[in-house]
């Protein structure tokens, strides 16, 4: 029972910290938009972690679904309907549909081959947005549009001009996504993913159709990555092809591994470290990536279970 209580206490603490972030971030030298960026990246890294930490397959192409979500939102708001919610729905549909279509082509691959082909498909989407200038604006991206206020009937939320309000807007979708994610991962279906991660042959011989379940895991992961992508577009009021680039996929992998891919909250911890380090170090040197790289190497070498892995070991021993 002690362990269960500890877990619950940790959950409550994390949610409280996230809910009060706009208040305390200023005290430690942060700012609200930094918090928004952490949430967006954390959601994408947690989405990726459904594949990496829970199913045991490494995708290096989740930025594609993130970026498609972002483009779907941006282009809908700019060209079709000036509505934040419609833009989000379209973005998520496009990102998830792409993952559903690409999935069957890769579910038979494993290990390095799986990773390489996910990169390859990710880069296909990247080059399409990069080259198809007349539609996507190519390298210039999609600009000159803004996230729109949300009209709830009784109150209008001006998420464009209030950074704090927009933080809570993101936190709302982050929370719903995490509830869904926890629900799926703790279900019988979620356990079949663990089974595949632990021992694919055993899973097969327990009657689990492994390929179909990896496909589902890929679609679910793409769904959450595209939600993160739509929020990313709204956050910047801008998207460009870098949001689909495989380097960004790599960042999500780094966040998940850094924080601890075997724990639910690991990728959030990784995203905090990554985004804050990026923000802080990049204000001092252009070579911020080498600092993150060095930090990453040290963590992987000495704490292969990530930051949360260390904490967990301390707690249980």
């Amino acid at each position: 029972m002690g362990q269960v209580n500890q877990k619950q206490a940790a959950n409550v603490a994390i949610w409280l910290l996230l809910l009060t972030a706009p208040v305390w971030m200023g005290w430690i030298g942060g700012y609200t938009e930094l918090g928004s960026r952490v949430l967006v990246n954390a959601l994408a890294a947690m989405g990726l972690n459904i594949l990496l930490g829970y199913t045991g397959v490494l995708s290096f192409g989740q930025a594609a679904y993130f970026g498609l979500g972002a483009y779907g939102t941006a282009m809908t708001i700019k060209y079709l309907v000036p509505s934040t919610m419609v833009g989000m729905v379209v973005g998520v549909l496009i990102g998830t549909a792409a993952a559903a279509l690409i999935g069957p082509l890769i579910v038979r691959l494993r290990g390095v081959y799986f990773a390489m082909v996910t990169i390859a498909f990710g880069q296909v989407f990247y080059f399409i947005t990069f080259r198809w200038y007349t539609v996507t604006g190519g390298d210039d991206g999609v600009n000159n549009w803004y996230r729109q206020p949300i009209d709830l009937g009784f109150v209008k939320l001006d998420i464009l001009h209030s950074g704090v309000l927009f933080y809570y807007f993101i936190l709302f979708f982050f929370a719903i996504s995490l509830l869904l994610m926890a629900f799926v991962l703790r279900s019988p279906f979620g356990r079949t993913l663990l089974a595949i991660r632990e021992n694919e042959r055993r899973a097969r011989f327990l009657g689990i159709p492994v390929e179909r379940h990896i496909w589902l895991s890929f679609v679910i992961s793409g769904f959450f990555c595209s939600i993160a992508g739509t929020l990313y577009a709204l956050l910047n009021n801008f998207v460009d092809p870098r949001s689909l680039y495989w380097g960004l996929s790599g960042n999500f992998v780094i966040m998940a591994v850094l924080g601890g891919m075997r724990s639910f909250w690991g990728p959030l911890v990784g995203a905090v470290i990554f985004v804050v380090l990026q923000d802080y170090v990049s204000s001092m040197t252009e070579n911020w990536e080498s600092f993150i790289g060095l930090f990453f190497v040290l963590v992987v070498l000495f704490f292969p279970r990530g930051v949360l892995g260390i904490i967990r070991r301390r707690v249980t021993s």
Binding site: P188, F189, T192, E198, R202, R204, F205, L206, I208, P209
Partner: protein
């Protein structure tokens, strides 16, 4: 009724003939042992039955249905369950979780994102029952990867049983076990066979186990069937003595 029928199954790996036109009939409720010297093709034959490897020629018929080209998971859905010579378990999950996954799979919850409280309680009761059967209940929340070899083998057999199979395939269930563990596992298999009338096919090296358990024995040598019969018949068979028991003695 014939539960499993293998008709002239062969498997070639390049120029190597691992299994050569082997046929087998297993009746419902029977315990059949497959023995043979190292490299006789026992494990390959097992893999043909369970679907890990597809035969180059021949047929596998299970419950009257041709399953020769069915994927392993689909054979499991039809009532086949197997263990492996080298234990295949979920090392970083607890004993309870290891058993919960097959129980849920067999109950058709593979794709469920939700299950009712009643269903959940039923699953937990079944898991508890399985753990009790082989005295794993006091290790329920330990990671399987940390348990002794014997307990890991027992867990794997329980995982196969959790599927409620009509045919249980055991590939060297006592491999690498000490005397006490071998005794325990043998007693468990005997109990499953006698009390639950479970149909079992097993590959085994330990002759004490084979002659103690089996209703009928099939002897493989160099990929082909050498002899078949009751334990008494096999013990008296001169061909078998020459090819197999003779060498061992």
């Amino acid at each position: 009724m014939t539960l499993l029928k293998v008709e002239n199954a062969s498997r070639h790996f390049g120029s190597l003939v691992a299994v050569d036109k082997v046929s087998l009939n297993v009746e419902e409720g029977e315990l059949r042992a497959i023995i043979g010297p190292n490299g006789a093709g026992k494990t390959t034959f097992f893999n043909l039955i369970s679907g890990l490897v597809t035969p180059t020629a021949g047929k596998i018929i299970f419950k009257g249905e041709d399953v020769t080209h069915l994927l392993p998971a689909r054979r499991v859905w039809r009532g086949m369950a197997r263990t492996f010579q080298i234990t295949e378990i979920f090392p970083e999950l607890t004993v309870r979780e290891n058993l919960r996954i097959p129980v849920e799979s067999a109950a058709g919850f593979r794709l469920s994102a939700w299950m009712s409280r009643a269903a959940d309680e039923e699953v937990q009761a079944r898991v508890a029952e399985l753990m009790q059967m082989c005295a794993l209940d006091d290790k329920a929340d330990r990671l399987v990867g940390e348990l002794s070899h014997g307990d890991q083998r027992a867990t794997e057999i329980m995982m196969a049983l959790a599927l409620k199979p009509s045919l249980l395939l055991l590939d060297e269930p006592t491999a690498g076990m000490g005397d006490q563990e071998t005794y325990d596992i043998t007693r468990l298999i005997r109990k499953l066979h006698k009390d639950q009338k479970l149909t079992i096919v097993l590959v085994e090296h330990d002759m004490r186990v084979v002659f103690h358990l089996a209703d009928r024995i099939m002897v493989l040598a160099e990929g082909a069937m050498l002899a078949e019969g009751t334990p008494d018949e096999i013990a008296k068979n001169e061909l078998v003595q020459a090819a197999y028991l003779g060498k061992a003695a």
